[in-house]
């Protein structure tokens, strides 16, 4: 792909971009004449969303299925306004969302904290690796719903089982990513630190953990994703306020527009959080791919 014609200087945004990404090559389209036409990726995303909504509108208007199954986009929009102002199941949309986000935040916080510590121990101490490693893999392969009932029996139906569920969902991916990264630390980093006087208790904190940081953050992103997919399920039991509880109530009354609204809100907020995590990643791990 000829990105730049010989006579032209590369666009400053491409060469000076601090994160080195510049304009994504996917957004560049070379026309047969050799000139280049740049399409912003954001524009492409917007176009795909517009097409999706358009298709949805057409399908709904065609009345292939009754509105109970496929409401129009406008119905969902009306529900957005109504739930935001008058509320649904006694809480506004923002309150539902905040309750869910709070659970995700707490569950991920505990899960990530525990996962990093556990992963560090698994990676560094062979005995602990043998003792706990298989257990972590076992829990990781379980769908969180499988142990939801157990948690309800143990912790009741209030906040506790939901936080525990998200914790148990978020911990294994972080623990596994951390353990792998810890074992993959190049021994010359450790040797260099030892030669500079670092003792055995300094190494995990000063060398192992920071050099495992890129993988740990990737693990955190996976964990937040898992927590997001789990929270709606967790809120099917006494989940109001909460987006999951709202969706559950709407399902009982066949209010499909509210169900779709809940799905869209969860999806969009998840997208936003991932963007934030990516920004955090660029800030904490500027050397990713260049170490």
């Amino acid at each position: 792909m000829s990105a730049v014609s010989p006579g032209r200087a590369p666009s400053p945004g491409r060469s000076l971009s601090p994160d080195g990404h510049g304009v994504s090559p996917a957004g560049r389209v070379a026309s047969p004449g050799g000139r280049t036409r740049t399409v912003r990726p954001a524009l492409l995303t917007l176009a795909s969303v517009a097409v999706l909504v358009g298709v949805w509108q057409v399908v709904a208007m065609a009345r292939i299925w009754p509105p109970v199954f496929v409401p129009e986009p406008a119905d969902v929009w009306r529900q957005l306004i109504r739930t935001s102002t008058q509320g649904y199941s006694g809480y506004t949309l923002a309150e539902h969302l905040l309750a869910s986000l709070r659970r995700i935040l707490l569950g991920c916080l505990y899960g990530v904290g525990g996962g990093v510590v556990l992963g560090l121990l698994i990676g560094l101490v062979p005995t602990i690796r043998a003792l706990v490693g298989p257990l972590v893999t076992f829990v990781r392969t379980l769908p969180p719903l499988a142990y939801l009932s157990l948690l309800v029996i143990w912790f009741g139906i209030d906040e506790q089982p939901k936080i525990w569920l998200l914790l148990l969902a978020a911990l294994p991916p972080v623990a596994v990513a951390t353990a792998e990264a810890v074992r993959g630390v190049h021994e010359d980093y450790l040797n260099a630190a030892r030669s500079l006087g670092a003792g055995p208790w300094e190494l995990p904190w000063r060398v192992v953990l920071p050099s495992a940081l890129p993988e740990i953050i990737t693990g955190v992103r996976v964990a937040v994703g898992v927590a997001y997919t789990t929270v709606v399920a967790a809120e099917t039991v006494n989940g109001v306020p909460g987006i999951g509880g709202m969706v559950r109530d709407a399902q009982r009354y066949n209010q499909t527009d509210v169900v779709i609204l809940g799905i869209v809100v969860i999806g969009l907020s998840g997208l936003l959080i991932d963007v934030l995590l990516q920004a955090l990643d660029r800030r904490l791990v500027p050397w990713r791919g260049r170490g």
Partner: protein, 313 residues
Amino acid sequence: MPSRPADPEPVREGAAGAPEAEGEVTAIEVRGVSHAYRGRPALGPVDLAVATGEFVSVVGPSGCGKSTLLRLIAGFAAPSTGSVAESGRPVRGPGPSRGVVFQQPRLFPWLSVAANVGFGLRRQPAAVRRARVAELLDLTGLSEAGRLRPYELSGGMQQRAAIARALAPRPRVLLMDEPFAALDAFTRERMQDEIRDLWRRTGTTVLFITHSVDEAVYLGTRIVALSGAPGQVIFDERSDLPGRAHPRADPGFGRLRERLSEVVRAAASGPGEAPGTPAEPLAERPGDLVGDAGLGRTGAALEREALGGQPPR
């Protein structure tokens, strides 16, 4: 910018902690050291005594265990047999008295260049640390690069930062494991000049592993060659070439390089085979305690000038 006013006395860092008079101390003493890797002998037995202030180049065919020798001296591994001592104390593990520079710079990517250089000084007061880091960045020509991250530097600058980091705690010995092998030819030559200059200014004892005969002859006040695996000392001579203004222009340079090349080539072609030249019955003397014994075999011109391999002040 006269930041460095005419230094009459070069900074002598190497012997800072050693109470004995300079040149008298054995900086590194390797005795009967051998090392096996996965049950196969990889090195030795090797005897090697390095005097304080020497710049010892160790050259040998690939797989001869020259890096292993460095790692044993650094304390990254324990020898299968024999013992390693540094400044009279047995080596039991890595420590700040032996700075190490690896083939890859291995700078910590999560720290700035200055923080990397200051890593070995983290227990010292902040003011002392800052001053020492500034001094080292200046010494290695990285004064402007302190705030950058390692990945923002070129390969040569990264390696210079790694050298500065290794020098920071004032090690008595600097161990360098093919430090310029991954650099391009131009950078490599410049770095050779810089390390030669740095060694002259700091006087640190250097053990320099390389697979380049040219580099070994250019830099070493003493040149040691190892045989093919298991590596044993088959060549050990002193040289005053690094002290000259233009070593490569010296007629002695070509001669020494030629002889050394032959030794290394013969060693690479088959383990245990004696190098062909009758003047060099080297295979008969593996594992000699090579100290001054090496002088017996030097070329006449070199022999006259081989006065303990001390760098000119």
